[in-house]
Symmetry: C2
Subunit: 133 residues, 2 copies
Amino acid sequence: MTSRPASPAKQGRGDLFDPECPTRRLLDRIGTKWTSMAVKVLAEAAPHEVRFAELRRRIPGVSQKMLSVTLHSLVRDGLVTRRVEPTVPPRVHYRLTDLGLSLDVPLAALRTWAEENMARIDRANAISDSEAG
Amino acid sequence: MTSRPASPAKQGRGDLFDPECPTRRLLDRIGTKWTSMAVKVLAEAAPHEVRFAELRRRIPGVSQKMLSVTLHSLVRDGLVTRRVEPTVPPRVHYRLTDLGLSLDVPLAALRTWAEENMARIDRANAISDSEAG
DNA sequence: CTGTATCCAAGTAGATACTG
DNA sequence: CAGTATCTACTTGGATACAG
């Protein structure tokens, strides 16, 4: 998702028949490391804008580069707006678009499921690991 | 997600404070290339089982190796059951667990959103690309 | 039929240094 | 402050060959 060179349809081989299912393509976007966090933070702040530095603070562990790359991808996808205050130094504000907000609905459902059930997945893994020794 | 060696908490650096948000960890799983397709096919078949070869047919483009890896990850996570018929050659049947079925609910919402809105994301990308030249 | 093992190409993200 | 460039390590996944 982060790289421009990669065209919408991958170069695999049997690409002729594959319309690249929309879900897969969506997951290629929100599945990248920091995207879901960024959307979550922006959704919680909506309808207010959030500055780059503030986003960085609210997403523990994200690097300057990856936050920048992540946000610009979201902007390109029309999920986020970017507004630059032409001051020195500049201040850049981000906000979810209506499309971005609508995406946050199913994403929030996924977050809820994750919070309620990841512990079960962890337990299942622990059991498998102990069984396989 | 597919590799065992990687421990739950990455080796980044600031891993001490980070409880690895459940959503991120869930997306690490369902975000891999074939997982969402496999869950979808299994959910559509539920409560019936689906054989390995049948799954392979219904997931265009998946390789033997990746389908195997994907399914075994889902089994380890407790989202799918695996039943082997001890015949020669063996037949292996897969089915979503209750946990897997419950995951398919928010996932189906995401699929619906993707089907309804990916075209807008594509348009936004087209506009950005033409603007940036 | 259903895997597993190996090897390899491509993608993803981190550290670091530098710019307007 | 916000962002870009480079360089590198790690991860993902595909091709192929082989096994129970």
